[in-house]
């Protein structure tokens, strides 16, 4: 996986390199514009009008990017940044500029501050459901006028530094979109660049007439636009990727209405490309070999693999663990906390997506605390490579779940966004607080929100069916019991993990009425059930639920018996990927776990003997994907939504960085 990422990154850099030489001149030309900030801004503000309708066309749900013009302006201004030069200097420039912009934009930003009220019609439901967003936006808005102070503030309060800086650089907001929409656009839209100046001039005259309308739009967009800024900033912050900055310029095309549709499509494409491929294909010999050479964990591949799943890694279990744990004190490349978590994953001591994710993040936090930037190296760069190393180690131990992938992306994003002027301890503190915030808000808090929502769907006398063990579902059931609802729980379990027993134990000891059965009996027990609650490992943007194997069976049978299926999933587990079946992307568990049958010890021995037989294989799938038509409702921290809304949430909130 890591290798994969690296491979992806390379072309980016290359492309950037290709473009950078062309960039500098426009940048210089922009600067003058900057100085006449007043009029220019007006012109830019007019552009969004033309822009927005097209945006609406593409997706009615999308909030029109009203900020674009101003952002674009700033982006022009920012364009110089990519110019090869000392990173620090560049950054300084950028900040300076952003300060100016902030003050210029004051009216705009004020409008932006109001979003909660003006936004209402647009995104009320989603926004109101999610507390974080609002707080974020208000904070941002508050900081807008004070743009000038941001640097000092950042120094004082490293935690908030990023957000403040972002607000300060509000002008650059638009850039994020460009960043997101990425290179494809930049390649395709060269001619448009040339047009831009013209269009700008044309619109200056109209600007005043439309000022009011624009202002309204800007207000709406403001909330969303801010999120995007994060992305832009991250580009800036990362000197290695500074080359990318040219893209913001290309982004301008949105200004001309004709281009806007195209760009929107391009944005989508970009996004798709942006999604890191999470799994290495293990039937690719050369890559596997390469990965092996670098591997910390020496794993032997199982011999007798199922042909359909040759593309997934499968290792012999148990042999390497003692060896690894003895290495614990002779670590050089891997931080001990990460190492510990890796071993825990390997041994299966930590299971469950949330638990694994939290453990990983905490290990990273510790590793970051102990981190010191080697001399002559840049913190952002070096830390990223370090984290990459950790991640690939973790993958060697056990393939990452989708949610962990999301969390890692968040962390890397935060690192990339670190302002250059931060001193090392500050940067580290900021990262640690980010990680803490992620765990608190995205996992713990959102679980609480989910529980509140889901409990409202439980009525007295119901029979709730759940499958396996999901900590959110457990919290829901316990909470519902606590507040005095009378219901019965059916726990459906499956071999070989039998996680349901854990849930059964916890529920029974709290005094809930439980029925326990195996998944084979699902159609027997389903007639009693009135609701099905399921946990999730991830939900993909085509509405496919990716969860513990067997979930699909339960959902299917529930559907056949017309029992509503409610999936409980934190929003950070939403993923832009799409998935149709359970074969292409999955994880293989220990085949011996399937081969060993508890009750017949003698027969189990026999099967051990049979292991050598080439014709007999045991397949221990870990996940399966449930088609969205079986899902009645998804309870997430954004509220209760149908599976068709997943792509919308992913699109809107990811772009704003609120999702991560």
């Amino acid at each position: 996986m890591d290798t994969r990422r690296g491979a992806l990154a390379v072309p980016k850099v290359r492309r950037v390199g290709f473009f950078t030489p062309t960039e500098p001149p426009p940048e210089s030309s922009q600067r003058p514009n900057r100085s006449q900030s007043g009029p220019v801004e007006a012109t830019t503000s007019s552009s969004p009008l033309s822009d927005s309708p097209s945006g609406n066309l593409i997706s009615p749900v999308l909030i029109p990017p009203s900020r674009h013009h101003s952002d674009n302006l700033t982006s022009h201004a920012a364009a110089p940044v990519p110019v090869p030069g000392p990173a620090a200097f560049r950054r300084y420039l950028a900040h300076d500029r952003s300060l100016h912009v902030g003050s210029y934009n004051a009216p705009d930003s004020l409008l932006g501050t109001s979003p909660p009220s003006s936004n209402g019609e647009f995104s009320e439901d989603s926004v109101s459901l999610f507390g974080f967003q609002r707080s974020d936006s208000t904070k941002l808005s508050a900081s807008f006028p004070n743009g000038g102070f941001d640097l000092t503030l950042a120094v004082r309060a490293p935690q908030e530094s990023e957000t403040i800086i972002e607000t300060a650089s509000a002008s650059e907001g638009k850039k994020k979109i460009a960043e997101v929409s990425g290179k494809s656009e930049s390649v395709t839209t060269k001619p448009q660049k040339e047009k831009e100046p013209k269009s700008l001039k044309d619109k200056t005259t109209k600007a005043e007439r439309r000022a009011i309308q624009e202002a309204q739009r800007a207000a709406k967009a403001a909330a969303k636009g801010e999120g995007k800024r994060h992305a832009d900033e991250s580009v800036e912050a990362n000197p290695g990727k500074a080359a990318k900055k040219p893209q913001p310029k290309k982004e301008r095309p949105p200004i001309s209405s004709s281009v806007s549709e195209k760009t929107a499509v391009a944005v989508e494409k970009e996004k798709r490309m942006d999604v890191p491929q999470t799994q290495m294909q293990y039937d690719d010999k050369s890559r596997v070999d390469k990965a092996k050479r670098r591997a910390v964990v020496e794993q032997t591949e199982t011999k007798n693999k199922v042909e359909l799943f040759l593309h997934l890694p499968q290792y012999e279990r148990g042999s390497q663990l003692p060896n690894l744990s003895s290495n614990f004190f002779t670590l050089d490349t891997i931080h001990h906390a990460v190492y510990k978590v890796g071993l825990q994953h390997l041994a299966g001591d930590i299971s469950g997506d949330n638990a694994r994710c939290i453990a990983m993040l905490q290990a990273f936090e510790e590793a970051i605390k102990d981190y010191t930037t080697p001399p002559m190296k840049d913190l952002t760069m070096d830390l990223t490579t370090k984290i990459n190393g950790y991640v690939s180690f973790l993958i060697e131990c056990r393939p990452l779940s989708m949610s962990m992938g999301n969390a890692i992306r968040f962390l890397k994003n935060q690192i990339r966004k670190l302002p250059v002027n931060l001193s090392e301890p500050e940067a580290k503190a900021s990262l640690c607080s980010d990680i803490g915030r992620f765990i608190d808000e995205k996992i713990i808090l959102s679980d609480k929100v989910i529980v509140q929502h889901a409990v409202s769907k439980i009525r007295d006398g119901e029979v709730l069916l759940t499958y396996g063990f999901s900590c959110v579902v457990e919290m829901i059931l316990l909470y519902a019991h606590e507040i005095g609802k009378k219901f019965r729980v059916v726990i459906v379990d499956a071999r070989p993990n039998l996680e349901g027993k854990k849930l059964l134990r916890r529920l029974v000891s709290r005094g809930l009425d439980c029925t326990y059965t195996h998944i084979n009996a699902i159609s027997y027990i389903m007639r009693e059930a009135t609701r099905v609650f399921l946990g999730a490992s991830s939900i993909f943007s085509n509405g496919t639920l990716y969860s513990k194997v067997g979930t699909a069976c339960v959902a299917m049978v529930a559907n056949a018996f017309s029992v509503p299926v409610i999936v409980c999933c934190e929003a950070y587990k939403f993923h832009e990927r799409v998935l149709l079946d359970s074969i292409c992307s999955n994880e293989l568990g220990d085949p011996d776990a399937v081969a060993n049958i508890p009750s017949f010890s003698t027969k189990a021995k026999q099967s051990k003997m049979m292991d050598n037989n080439k014709n007999l294989q045991f397949l221990n799938l870990m996940y399966d994907s449930t088609p969205s038509e079986y899902i009645s409702m998804i309870v997430s921290d954004y509220g209760m939504i149908p599976p068709t809304s997943i792509p919308v949430i992913v699109r809107e909130y990811r772009r704003e960085n609120l999702l991560l």
């Binding site: 042909e307 359909l308 379990d493 499956a494 071999r495 070989p496 027993k501 059964l504 134990r505 029974v508 000891s509 709290r510 005094g511 809930l512 009425d513 439980c514 029925t515 326990y516 059965t517 195996h518 998944i519 084979n520 009996a521 699902i522 159609s523 027997y524 027990i525 007639r527 513990k548 194997v549 067997g550 699909a552 069976c553 299917m556 049978v557 056949a560 079946d581 359970s582 074969i583 999955n586 399937v594 081969a595 049958i597 009750s599 017949f600 027969k603 026999q606 099967s607 049979m610 037989n613 014709n615 007999l616 294989q617 045991f618 397949l619 221990n620 799938l621 996940y623 399966d624 994907s625």
Partner: protein, 409 residues
């Protein structure tokens, strides 16, 4: 005949304690028991068929009561009853034919016109009896109307009796003949039951092609033979076997398949849905097939059938003729099911520590059913020893094997 009584008692005991597993084994034992019951049954001069039927019915009721879920027992008892009736009928018709030869062949015409003469009357009874066994109806019998056919079931045997009374001269030879014929018939049935695997397996080659991927679950000898037959014909294909927790019969099947050189993969039951999209065909062995075309099979079958339906994968059920049950199911998931010991799911006392019996709150039930019911609309094809059939055709196939007055025992 104390020995028969004790044999019956012993078998009932076995059934009650579920010592005999599998419908084929049960069916075989049942037929053999019934054969000895018949051979030991002393037959009166008059009304011998009725005597045999009563004796078999009496034993059959005990057996069915011992394990009402094992439908094969009831099926076999009904089959034996049917054989007795058939033999009786054929003997009477033979006797009638002898009589009729004396009379003019006009009898036929008279019969057809519903003549009232005594010989004609008995011929009508024979014809009605023949109809009652669901021979292919002629246009005429269809036109004759319902009232007669309704009375037929009762007249068939009694009519034969009256016949036999009047012709007591032939009786002594007839008596022995009937018993002999019945035992012949039962022997044939035994052969049929033990040979059904081969008959079904012969058809394997028609249904399995090269490189096929087949999913099966539960342990069924019929399926095993079916797959191996295809393997012997040099077809190479892959088999996925769901393990069938908590009884793990899939492991047994997998082992046998591997021993015979088939490419076998054992999957967990929960992975059925995940794998079904790559499966070409689902083949299962039925526990029983109901008259409506519904199937009772090992637990988990309904899930597989639903998944197969969703992915448009053919769902094929193999069933020997002794599994065809003439009853229409009502709520079969519950009424034709059996809950096994919870200890297969949870060890004894595993949760006693966290259950608070004193407080009275919190309870723990463990559900471990044995069978699953698949409604006919999920089944693509039945393969029996007589060939492949649609679910909607099963009622008709079943009618060939049973006589209508035995349905309720």
């Amino acid at each position: 005949m104390p020995d028969v009584q004790s044999m019956v008692a012993e078998f009932v005991n076995k059934l009650r304690k579920r010592k005999i597993e599998g419908s084929q084994a049960t069916a075989k034992c049942t037929v053999e028991l019934l054969r000895s019951v018949i051979s030991h049954q002393r037959v009166p001069h008059a009304n011998q068929a009725a005597a045999l039927i009563d004796a078999v019915k009496a034993v059959g009721q005990q057996l069915v009561a011992a394990n009402p879920v094992e439908l094969a027992v009831g099926n076999v008892v009904r089959r034996v009853l049917h054989i007795i009736r058939e033999e009786d009928l054929s003997l009477t018709t033979a006797a009638m034919a002898g009589l009729d030869l004396l009379d003019a062949s006009d009898d036929d015409d008279i019969d057809n016109c519903k003549g009232i003469g005594y010989p004609a009357m008995s011929a009508a009874v024979v014809a009605a009896a023949a109809r009652s066994t669901l021979r292919p109806p002629s246009l005429q019998t269809l036109l004759e109307g319902t009232p007669e056919s309704a009375t037929v079931p009762y007249t068939s045997s009694s009519g034969a009796d009256s016949e036999s009374k009047s012709k007591s001269a032939d009786k002594s030879s007839l008596t022995r003949k009937l018993k002999h014929d019945v035992i012949e018939g039962v022997n044939q049935l035994i052969q049929e039951i033990s040979g059904c695997h081969e008959q079904i397996a012969e058809q394997a080659i028609e249904h399995i092609h090269q490189n096929e991927v087949i999913l099966t679950l539960g342990s069924s000898r019929t399926v095993l033979e079916f797959l191996c037959a295809a393997k012997e014909k040099k077809r190479s294909f892959r088999v996925f076997v769901a393990e069938g927790a908590p009884r793990y019969q899939g492991h047994l099947l997998a082992k046998e398949l591997v021993a015979r050189g088939l490419q076998t993969t054992v999957i967990t039951d929960s992975a059925v849905f995940a794998m079904i999209s790559r499966v070409n065909m689902v083949i299962i062995g039925a526990h029983a097939v109901m008259a409506n075309g519904g199937v009772i099979g090992p637990v988990g079958v309904n899930m597989a059938a639903l998944a197969a339906k969703k992915h448009a994968v053919p769902f094929v059920v193999l069933a020997g003729s002794h599994k065809l049950c003439p009853l229409y199911p009502h709520n079969p998931e519950v009424l034709l099911n059996e809950l096994r010991s919870p200890s297969e799911l949870l060890d004894f006392g595993e949760f006693s520590d966290c259950l608070d019996f004193g407080a009275g709150s919190g309870s723990l039930q463990v559900v471990n059913p044995t069978f699953d019911y698949v409604p006919p609309n999920l089944v693509s094809l039945f393969i029996t020893d007589t060939g492949g059939h649609n679910p909607s055709y099963m009622y008709r196939l079943i009618a060939d094997y049973y006589s209508a007055d035995d349905l309720v025992m």
